[in-house]
């Protein structure tokens, strides 16, 4: 087993980078080599505070002595950066959604395979304690066989590059379908076969979708729906939610992943706020990535997982455009 893993970070465009950085810095088995970001000001607070090397060019970081990189760029850059990292022989932890087209994601997966490096998709929701317990309950058969799932990943409109299609590739439906979709794929051990969706701009003055409902039919016959809308107003006490209701032949199960919170009523804020006190999911995600690489095991959430989930969001857009259900090709079967 490797004693230490040398990790670099590429781009802090996505705010999750700051949380992953904290998780990496907290580990004795990780050497943080530095941060690459074309926007120096964006990362200066981190490089200065923690005395980290700064790279203007990701290529320079990839040329350094690094085992793995964490990519938190804008969505459209996930593919070129991942391919570049793979060719440099670096393992990759890539922020979700994995990519913005199916072909691009296939290219990322293939580049990592060809260069003998691992690709992990950052789906931290798999590491929520309630989700882990729910999965165990389902696997034990506590609610029988699952027949339906209703999920929500409602959030706050993030603004910035997220609402610029040339950088994000899509709005709320892409941003917030993938997390819970991955959980559904994982719980069901099946894949989406058909997708029907509505996508719209209803909540904010933005040039991209901020609302939708995505219906999914899985290959194993399970039906599901998901609300990925950026529908939490500024007045809402928290950023959003991750919920999943599973209907089984013997009962049902409800996960409200961020229900572990205290309620705060403060005169200066003049709105209630929720303080989450549950376990950090990002710590566990980073732990899973680092330990898999140190021990030479397969990463637990793969590029294929990222592909399976993001393609549902892409199919949702196609369906919303067509006004009809869209069937997904059985890519896995081709690969087998």
């Amino acid at each position: 087993m490797k004693d230490k893993l040398k990790v670099g970070m590429i781009s802090f465009a996505h705010m999750h980078a700051a949380s992953y950085l904290q998780a990496l810095l907290a580990r004795k088995d990780v050497d943080l080599v530095g941060i690459a970001d074309e926007n120096r000001e964006r990362v200066r607070p981190f490089t200065e505070r923690y005395g980290l090397a700064y790279y203007e060019d990701a290529g320079k970081l990839l040329a350094a002595d690094v085992d793995a990189v964490v990519i938190c760029s804008e969505n459209v850059r996930h593919a070129p950066l991942t391919v570049q990292a793979a060719r440099a022989g670096k393992h990759v932890l890539c922020e979700k959604p994995l990519g913005i087209t199916e072909a691009q994601m296939q290219e990322m997966i293939e580049a990592c395979r060809a260069n003998g490096v691992q690709l992990m998709t950052a789906f931290p929701c798999r590491y929520l304690a309630s989700v882990i317990e729910a999965k165990a309950a389902v696997d034990r058969g506590d609610i029988g066989r699952i027949v339906a799932i209703k999920g929500t990943n409602r959030g706050t409109m993030p603004g910035g590059w997220f609402v610029d299609r040339s950088l994000s590739g899509g709005g709320a439906v892409l941003d917030h379908t993938v997390h819970v979709m991955d959980l559904m794929n994982w719980f069901l051990n099946s894949e989406a076969e058909e997708v029907f969706a509505f996508a719209a701009t209803l909540f904010h003055s933005v040039p991209i979708d901020d609302a939708g409902i995505v219906h999914v039919k899985f290959r194993n016959g399970v039906i599901a729906s998901l609300d990925p809308s950026w529908s939490r107003p500024a007045a809402f006490p928290t950023w959003g939610d991750v919920t999943m209701e599973l209907i089984g032949t013997k009962g049902s199960l409800f996960v409200d992943a961020f229900a572990q919170k205290n309620e705060i009523y403060n005169n200066e804020r003049m709105k209630p706020s929720w303080s989450y006190w549950g376990d950090s999911m990002d710590d566990r995600l980073i732990d899973a990535f680092v330990m898999a690489l140190r021990e030479g095991r397969d990463v637990p959430v793969t590029g294929e997982d990222g592909f399976r989930s993001a393609r549902v969001a892409l199919a949702a857009y196609a369906s919303a455009e067509l006004g009809k259900p869209v069937r997904l090709a059985d890519v896995e079967a081709d690969r087998r």
Partner: protein, 333 residues
């Protein structure tokens, strides 16, 4: 005003109790083909029991008749009552098909009697408040709304709910409450898509997920569940451009009783909503409909609203069968 009841299942007994306590109404007979049920409702409402509705109408000569029969029987009895000049309060859904609904509405128009359909959710104070808040603009422009209605698999007399040709299933019978409500909030529907999971046998369940796109752009997403092992639960979230409104029967309980006696019989007693009020929503509903009869005013929920909710419910059923979205109220493909 003399009011009779035909059908003494759960709803008939609920109506009897409420009408008996209402100053505006004289409960004038209850009827059920099952004499024991009729006796039970008569005792609850302090009135006469009948097992033949014709005999009841003859003897009691009511102004208004409440139809609390299984859905598939609504059409025939409503048309007959209309011919006899009786105003009618009919349980939801209005009927099994749009043709039935049209025939019922037309008969009532033809014979000059009023027809009200018991979409009681309009009279639940939490839902009525929600509709008012949205109408006042508290949540801003149209957005995405969720509705949830979970209960045990209903065990009507002779298990008529289990027979799809008599009840229409969970969408037509249960979700139709939320279909009517969301339509009252967002207006006319444009498209419906739906999917369902169900199982028969010893331990039946039926779970439906329905999405309605409205002409104003709003998206309504509804879940209904027959066979839920927990207590009856309803919840809604209406998110708009300026805010979010949420209601949940599970978190608005104003009374919690926990007794050490519970479970002594080996099984916990049936759980009932612990949110007591002076009058239940059926009281408000019946009182409102009787006022409309008295002064000729329009009810908050009309027979045409009931027909429109049925149209959406039937479209959702069709979508479940075909896997395709179904357009509402037009000849679009």
């Amino acid at each position: 005003m003399k009011v009779s009841i035909i059908g003494c299942g759960t709803m008939g007994i609920t109506y009897a109790k409420n009408l008996a306590s209402m100053e505006e109404a004289d409960l004038a007979g209850v009827c059920d083909v099952d004499a024991a049920r009729a006796e039970e409702a008569a005792a609850a409402g302090g009135t006469n029991a009948y097992s033949d509705y014709k005999a009841m109408l003859e003897a009691e000569n009511p102004d208004v008749v409440c139809v609390c029969l299984p859905t598939y029987l609504h059409k025939r009895i409503v048309i007959e009552l209309a011919r006899l000049g009786k105003h009618i309060i009919c349980e939801k859904p209005i009927g099994m098909t749009l043709e039935d609904a049209d025939a019922m509405i037309e008969a009532c128009r033809q014979y000059g009697v009023r027809l009200f359909v018991g979409h009681v959710v309009r009279f639940f104070p939490n839902y009525a408040d929600a509709a008012g808040q949205v109408a006042r603009g508290e949540t801003g422009g149209p957005g995405v709304a969720h509705f949830k209605r979970y209960g045990s698999y209903p065990r009507g007399n002779g298990l008529w709910y289990h027979d799809r040709s008599k009840s229409g299933g969970v969408i037509l019978d249960l979700m139709i409450h939320d279909i009517d409500f969301v339509r009252s909030v967002y207006g006319e529907a444009d498209t419906v898509y739906a999917a369902k999971a169900q199982s028969g046998g010893e331990d039946p369940f039926e779970y439906a997920l329905v999405t309605i796109r409205f002409r104003n752009g709003a998206i309504g997403h509804l879940a209904a569940y027959w066979g839920y092992p927990g207590p009856f639960t309803t919840a809604a979230e209406i998110a708009g451009s300026q805010g979010v409104l949420r209601l949940d029967s599970a978190t608005s309980r104003s009374l919690v009783v926990t007794s050490r006696d519970e479970g002594r019989e080996g099984k916990a007693a049936v759980q009932v909503p612990q949110s007591p009020m002076r009058h239940d929503p059926y009281y408000r509903e019946l009182k409102h409909f009787l006022e409309c009869v008295r002064d000729g005013s329009e009810p908050v929920v009309t027979a045409e609203d009931a027909r429109a909710a049925l149209e959406i419910a039937l479209a959702a059923e069709r979508s479940c069968q075909t896997g395709q979205p179904v357009a509402i109220g037009g000849n679009r493909p």
